[in-house]
Amino acid sequence: MADLRDLYQEVILEHSKAPRNYRQLAAANHHAEGFNPLCGDHFTVYLEIDGDAIRDVSFQGSGCAISKASASMMTQAVKGKSKAQAAKLFDTFHKLVTTGEANGNHSDLGKLAVFSGVSEFPVRVKCATLAWHTLQAALEGKQDPVSTE
């Protein structure tokens, strides 16, 4: 049986209650919207891109504890990274939340490793990845809102 504490780790609860970088970004030159129609989660991710670097990143919106904490910790993790580094980190994160394993890339994840418990709750994978999908859309300059469905 999956343990709730594996999913709702203290760090996750703390970020969901006090999300970091939770604001509109005045200097944003990229942004995208993401929806999870299943539960009504809705986030906007703002990016300030300078050449290949993510100079600043923020988000706003509403969602469950998992999606909000994931968005909050994502902004901390990708700030200052290159686009390619952010894409690779999403790849590793996605493996983590779907399989519980990071294929030896655990050290890249840093604090994001607390999301490993999500893999025991398959219906919550979309919550954990919504902000990341939205980030990807913002990086690619997509016009249409992304949906987890």
């Binding site: 049986m1 299943l38 009504g40 469950c64 998992i66």
Partner: protein
């Protein structure tokens, strides 16, 4: 943010006596799935508004149909075809009696409530709506009683008008009446709201509409499992409901329509069974209800629905209604007393549904934590996004009841909510 929600009204000793005549522990044994465990805990199935569980009688009837009676209906001359046809038409009579329709030819078999509403929109609606005409619905409709009308209105350049509700989730009858105008061609309204549990005053609504010669379609999906329905007494023109929400199989439902309206309506889909004769020059349509039933019907569905109706009849819808009334009152009191809980939908007349939010916790997280306790509820917008917008919330947690649910399960729900609060403390 705790709200003391209204307990359902009309606490009467007679009603309590009637409800206490229900032997719930015996009834629970009729539903095999209720005995299973989930995540090592006793299952508390509180998601009946999404779909209900099936009694052994329904499961057996479907198995018996395939073991002993299966054949195509209406056209065969052989024994099995006659048998299958008899079973199919027997189910139609049971459905007719169940909702107190005047005649079996007013019972159209469909896939479910959604198809029933789409059928009316695409036949009656297309024939009667013109540019600038209006369809009147309410702010508490399920998407299935919004989108078919939007599609129709888009096609006809007609307008969809929406009657507002108050903070308790009750229809504002005065506003509703004001919206009934010379251009209103049909009213479509839920008997019971799936997201709020509100029971609408259909008698008054139908009278107001009929005074202006406007027909009324009722979405009965959430009413039929909880109360005795009499379409003749309601005097509604169409009434749609789903088998799977009333303990029958999936993929089956009924559209009731007054015979005169059905007779005058163009057909829905073309195909076999809905015709009397076909040439390349001209086709004559079959009589009602068959005119609306193209193709080989879902006989497994009708047999299962018939078995579900017989099962409900044996218990008695009045007893079911009385028992659930008491259970919902108990649940409303128990859950609304938990600090931080706010009930969404506090209408004086409610049935089957308890929607709530918990301060500081998203409903999706409530759902996951309750699931670990073996408690199945629905979280989200319940296919009624405009209601969520009306109350300014993204989603709710919804516990929805059937007559096999118990006060012990309500207590488990209350403990589960306390567990949610512990996790999020």
């Amino acid at each position: 943010m705790t709200t003391t929600a209204n307990l359902p009204s009309t606490e009467s000793p007679a009603l309590t006596r009637l409800g206490s005549q229900l032997d719930v522990e015996r009834i629970r044994r009729d539903f095999p799935i209720l005995a299973r465990e989930v995540h090592g805990k006793k299952l508390a199935y509180l998601d009946n508004a999404a779909t209900s569980q099936k009694p052994q009688a329904v499961i057996d009837a479907i198995a018996r149909y395939y073991r002993q009676e299966n054949a195509n209906v209406h056209r065969g001359v052989h024994f099995l075809s006659e048998l299958a046809t008899a079973e199919h038409e027997r189910a139609r009579r049971l459905a007719q009696e169940f909702i107190h329709a005047a005649s079996g030819n007013e019972i159209v078999f469909v896939r479910g409530t959604t198809e029933g509403i789409n059928l009316v929109a695409q036949t009656y609606g297309r024939a009667h709506l013109g540019e600038s005409d209006e369809v009147l619905i309410t702010a508490m409709e399920h998407h299935s009683n919004i989108v078919p009308w939007q599609i129709l209105c888009d096609e006809k350049k007609a307008k969809l008008r929406v009657a507002p509700i108050n903070d308790a989730g009750e229809l504002l009858l005065d506003e509703f009446e004001k919206l009934l105008g010379p251009r209103t061609k049909i009213v479509a309204i839920a008997h019971v709201s799936n997201a709020l549990g509100t029971v609408n005053p259909l008698g008054k609504i139908v009278a107001l509409a009929h005074r202006r010669n406007i027909p009324v379609l009722v979405d009965g999906a959430q009413a039929v499992p909880h109360m005795s329905v009499d379409v003749e007494a309601l005097d509604c023109d169409f009434y749609a409901f789903s088998s799977h929400k009333m303990f029958g199989p999936l993929g089956m439902g009924v559209l009731y329509g007054k015979a005169a309206l059905l007779e005058a309506m163009p057909p829905y889909q073309g195909g076999g069974d809905m015709i009397s004769s076909v040439t390349f020059e001209k086709t004559t349509y079959n009589k009602i209800p068959f005119k609306f039933e193209a193709g080989t019907p879902n006989v497994e569905g009708s047999v299962g629905l018939g078995a579900a109706i017989e099962y409900l009849n044996a218990i008695g819808m009045d007893r079911i209604q009385a028992y659930e009334h008491e259970l919902l009152g108990y649940a409303t009191g128990k859950i609304s007393a938990i600090p931080g809980v706010r009930i969404i939908g506090t209408a004086r007349e409610r049935a089957g549904v308890l929607s709530f939010i918990l301060e500081g916790v998203h409903p999706h997280d409530i759902g996951t934590i309750l699931d670990q306790e073996g408690i199945a509820i629905r979280t989200g917008h319940h296919c009624a996004q405009p209601i969520m917008q009306r109350f300014g919330i993204p989603a709710t947690a919804r516990a929805s009841f059937a007559f096999y649910n118990t006060k012990a399960e309500v207590d488990a729900l209350a403990r589960g909510i306390e567990r949610v609060k512990e996790v999020f403390r």
